[in-house]
Symmetry: C2
Subunit: 133 residues, 2 copies
DNA sequence: TTTTAAATTTGTAACGATTACAATTCAATA
DNA sequence: TATTGAATTGTAATCGTTACAAATTTAAAA
């Protein structure tokens, strides 16, 4: 696992330091789209010298290398996702949990966008999840 | 126009104060999805005593009454929209402009969401607009 | 009209997530 | 081992937003 991650980072032009490996590993294992705070609080148990700035720096680097995507559902709550394939996010307004869901297609009237270059597509729903209904 | 807005606010259970009318009117006239800062800087010329807190309060109220929606594309840049119908937003990463586009449908694999209650649907794209290409 | 109470607006201070920046540590190579 | 650049760290600054209390406005009652 850790070797895989190290190789994966390298193949994306990222030098695999301990912190970078652990942070990416965390994101792969915890598919609940954690915030920087969550990542920090969990990983600092492992790496006591860890700094939040490192996590910010690392996510910034991962974004530039396009191996993570950012999830902005709430203004004050930035989350990160290691799954870069197009998929939707559902946030429960009761418990706050964020779920993934699969998208087959988005049908757009080809009015404006046909002349634009689309680089990223983001889709999220809000509501109440099964457990909270 | 102003009468229409006043009536519209009333019909949504909002007492139409001067500030509320002006803020809603601004949002209807400026369909570029302004931030609180933009609204404040433009309206303070009209209402010199205007406070940013009032704009925050007012948007919060409008959201509760569901006559405006919030647009969160960037973490640090919350925008507001008087159009509450489902539509997509396109943000140009070069000039920062936010455009609307029409959506016919979003095709979702009915796996997870069938048991969830969906209250809001948000969709945004990023890329380069016609002018910046 | 005056009084009173409630709602609205306002200004200031506090908050919290993120970023800037300089210092320190680490890793690779000569 | 010494040197150099990259990565990490901690602290301080920034900025959008919120909390809160005071001031103002509005509406209703006396």
């Amino acid at each position: 696992m850790k070797n895989n991650i190290s190789e994966y980072l390298k193949s994306n032009g990222i030098k695999p330091s301990l912190q970078r490996i652990k942070i990416y590993e965390y994101l792969v294992k915890n598919k609940n789209h954690p915030t920087v705070d969550k990542v920090y609080n969990d990983l600092v148990k492992d790496i006591p010298t860890l700094s939040k700035t490192t996590i910010y720096n690392t996510f910034k680097l991962f974004m530039e290398k396009k191996i993570v995507t950012i999830i902005t559902i709430e203004e004050n709550e930035t989350r990160y996702d290691a799954d870069t394939n197009l998929h939707g996010h559902f946030k429960c307004e009761v418990c706050g949990e964020v779920y993934d869901f699969a998208i087959d297609d988005i049908l757009i009237r080809k009015d404006i966008l046909k002349e634009f270059e689309v680089d990223e597509r983001h889709l999220y729903f809000k509501g109440k999840c099964k457990n909270c209904l």
